[in-house]
Amino acid sequence: MSVLNELHKASLSPAAGQTSPEKHPMDDFLRMDRMPHIWCSTCGIGVSVNCFAKALEKLGLPLDQVVVVSGIGCTGRVAGYVKVDSFHTTHGRAIPFATGMKLANPKLKVVVFSGDGDIIAIGGNHFINAARRNIDITVICLNNFNYAMTGGQLASTTPEGSILSTSPFGSYEFPFNLPFLAESVGAVYVARWTSLHVYNQTNAMVEAMQKPGFSFVEIVAPCPTIFERQQKMGDGLDRLRWYCENSDIRNGASTKEADIRLRDRMVVGKFVDTSRPTYLDAMNAHYQERLGPKYKVYEG
């Protein structure tokens, strides 16, 4: 079995990747042996990973119980870099994978971290149904308005008029208003921030993870290599400046007004923060009521 021998050899050779001589306080949250990450300079993904690490630190949860699930995409690579149990699944299906995980072991804190294309284009059906069921997971959706990993195509979130490789003369589709959609299907926590809003973003992640039920955080983030370049909006730093000038923080704003247009001002904030029983709580309560003491409360 020569394959086996080869594999044994491989496992003896030292791990690839360099270990930085200096340490950053967040290094424990990261797979340092996989650094540097693949994200471009001035990309917003790294910022959100940083905020996420901070949010975990703030929450003070034992990291052993945190799970990150991603789909496929630039953002989908997040699962590969955070040093918790992390699953890089298939395109669009992070949410059902996370659902299985959470239901199988309710003690886990399950976070889906993925891109807008992944979560709401191909993954749309899972998004709406998981929210409806109020599965107790947090979905962090990094919205860079395009499919970056595949080179920059139209997404379900692309603002009208955007130039991308499959909308070479500008998009004429109407994008989703994600907070409105999330609210309509019953998400209990809905917030939107940009890459610039690092404190708010971090707080939203903390609140979302603390919230029992389906919580949703949309992060509007630059993809300088594709989206901003194609729109001639400069790089990620230019885009942060734009966010700074054009974001209206309006907590509690009606999600109906949260539409995003390519060059208009944009509402950010916490839009929904409500409560209803999670899927498992509803199930346990229901069975206890219907089946009485013979029902053993499901705990995983």
Binding site: I38, C40, S41, M149, T225
Partner: protein, 183 residues
């Protein structure tokens, strides 16, 4: 059947692929030869060394990959480190003089340098660096005719930028002629 393998290396953003494309197109559409261009793709490749490979031949090209390039055009040090060992010891190495130090290369290799970035900057747009290299390549290697190369440049760059790009090409070509005609 004369067949030449060419490899172009640099970092993402230098226009490595376009350079390869122009060589291939020139040979194949305007010089009556066959030319196959291949490239290495990879999501992990963002920003790091990348390459284009071109085979130019008088007859049909079957095996499409470059195994031992006779001509190498290198625009970054990292690319030099990564790719130069593949070069045919009797081959030809064209480098961006100010970005690449060809130290350690076999003495049997003919090395030609050009300060392409500086030339491009002098023309006002650093991005035409690859066109300078293309001109240099045409002059030094003689593998593809100047006219074919010019046509390929003209038909491959964004409309409106043809003039600048052709100028850059000419600069590189002239510089190259100087190099090869000089003893």
């Amino acid at each position: 059947m004369a067949k030449t393998e060419i490899k172009i290396g640099g970092f993402g953003g230098q226009g490595v692929i376009l350079t390869g494309y122009i060589i291939g197109k020139a040979a194949s559409l305007y010089d009556g030869k066959d030319a196959t261009m291949t490239q290495a793709f990879g999501p992990e490749a963002r920003g790091s060394a990348c390459s284009a490979q071109v085979i130019v031949s008088d007859g049909a090209i079957l095996y499409p990959y470059v195994k031992r390039p006779q001509v190498m055009v290198i625009m970054s040090q990292e690319a030099f480190t990564k790719f130069s060992p593949e070069l045919d010891p009797n081959g030809m190495l064209l480098i961006e003089d100010e970005l690449v130090d060809a130290k350690g290369i076999s003495p049997t290799v003919k090395v030609f340098g050009i300060p392409a970035t500086r030339i491009a900057e002098e023309l006002g747009r650093k991005v035409v660096l690859n066109m300078v290299m293309a001109g240099f390549f045409a002059a030094v290697s003689g593998l593809v005719s100047k006219e074919a190369m010019r046509k390929a440049v003209e038909t491959s760059v964004p409309t409106g930028t043809e003039g600048l790009n052709l100028l850059a090409f000419e600069k590189g070509y002239e510089y190259g002629l100087g190099k090869v005609q000089a003893p």
